[in-house]
Amino acid sequence: MSAATSVRRRRFRWVALGWIGVLYVASIPWYRETGAVPDLIFGLPDWVVVAIGCYLGVAIVNALAWLATEIPDSLERDDSEGTDEP
């Protein structure tokens, strides 16, 4: 893999992880009025649909982030992520 591709993948992975963080924050209904009677969407309370939608988004983005991740099988190959032993 070329150095440019490796850098692109690493950057994509960090952006993906950032989006996952945003989706997790949005999945919790902290911004809704406590105890409010929700509207129903597809037979589910709307805040539940939002949470499921966020988790579906996390699943897709996380799967793509894993595919963009390099997992070296030895320390000799471990050059792209700067993962020298601490």
């Binding site: 992975r13 992880l17 996952i20 997790y24 999945s27 919790i28 209904p29 902290w30 809704r32 009025e33 406590t34 105890g35 409010a36 009677v37 929700p38 129903l40 597809f42 037979g43 589910l44 309370p45 805040w47 539940v48 949470a51 499921i52 966020c54 988790y55 579906l56 996390v58 699943a59 897709i60 996380n62 799967a63 793509l64 982030a65 894993w66 595919l67 991740t69 390099e70 997992i71 070296p72 099988d73 030895s74 320390l75 000799e76 190959r77 471990d78 992520e81 993962t83 032993e85 601490p86």
Partner: protein, 483 residues
Amino acid sequence: MSFSTLGVIALGIYIGGLVVMAVFARRARVDLGPADHFLAGRGLGAFVLFLTLYATAYSGNSLLGYPGEAYRRGYSFIMATGFMMSIIVVFHALVPRLRPVAITHGFVTPGDWVRHRFGAEPASDRVATAVSILMAIALANFLFAQLVAMGIVVGHVTDHAIPEWAGVIGLAGFILFYETFGGMRAVAWTDAVQGILMLVGLAFLLSWLLGESGGLSGITAELARVRPEALAVPDARECANWASTVALLGLASVVYPQAIQRVYAARSGASLKRALSLMSFMPLTTTLVVTLIGIAAIPRFAHLDRLGADAVMPSLLAEWATAGPGATLLAILVFVGALAAIMSTADSVLLSLGSILAIDLFGRSNRDPETTHFGKRAAMAVMFVAVILALVPGLTLWRLLELKMELLIQCVPAFLLALHWPGLRASATFYGIAAGGVVAIGGALVGFGRIGGVHIGVLGLGVNLLVAVGWSVMSAPPGRKTA
């Protein structure tokens, strides 16, 4: 043929299949060393790796504990899908860095990493011992929870023709047999079958429930009638608990010894990333499904007590089985799938526990074949004690899971922080674990399981990190790089 007779026959066929697989796994072994027994010779490909990760992650807690908790809490337990997914997210911080070090140095247990990382420092052994003790306690708790769940399922699947105590003892014996006989290879192969059974079974059960209840709309309408608070927007405390549970499960589960050992056992980094990529979707096909099953049970079983709620899944299956011959067969399939999920977690836990006891706590070599035998004997001893404890009813499966995670999460700095921060010192890590452990255990003992909805273990981790980072910075020799 009656439901209980069919249940006994299905159980017999399933156990026979496990024995055959253990024999094949035994024949496939390459040598008698610990890496072959505990890590399947580091040869697990993407597909088997995915299924063994899946079957290990989704356990008796998922199939009995989660529907039970969804029954108690209502729709707010949708958080379970999020926290199961967070495990695969947090793995990003562990796997790419740990795997190359582990393969290069031939690690077998999590303690191997800790000793390697802090090897040159005087407190290295203390950290490794503290981490191994916490992991061993957490695993023993996990094994105990699986045995309790096994008893519940066997009792229901055979309509109590086989009593719960006999199910616990008998199945514990079979797990011991195929785990000691075939090692990680047998565990991974049986996990693969068990994972498929669980997926198929849950899909059938949910489709029956939706059909019976008039779809999601029907379930929600009934819920609004019998327990309207179960669909209302959760309050601030419940939202804090939601975030805390995502953090607790996400962080603590990545330091599951059996998960770390699967990182070591993968054939290659490429296999591992494909397996983890697929694992991202499994909370949607499993956790979400069992949550909806638990919620659908609320109108059907109106007044179950806290412990009784753990049996909502078997109770639903028993009800389903009365709907006709086809439903009976499918219900039996789901029962076996549930049992399979529980056994697959129990066997992985036992294998991991054996290796930790032998290598990390009793100091056996991770290359000596005698260590394998010692690990097997240690696993047998732990299983014996866990079986006795499992015969005494007590805590809910969910509370057992929380207690385990609150201890396990204290190991996080020794892995995630140690992998990413060269300045972390062994003594600081040890005192951090001790401080976090005191907060978590002390809080639980005096009845502060959660403060403002946040788990005491998560607060303990905060103290743990403060001590570990603060002590490392303060005790760094002048001029030493700490960041």
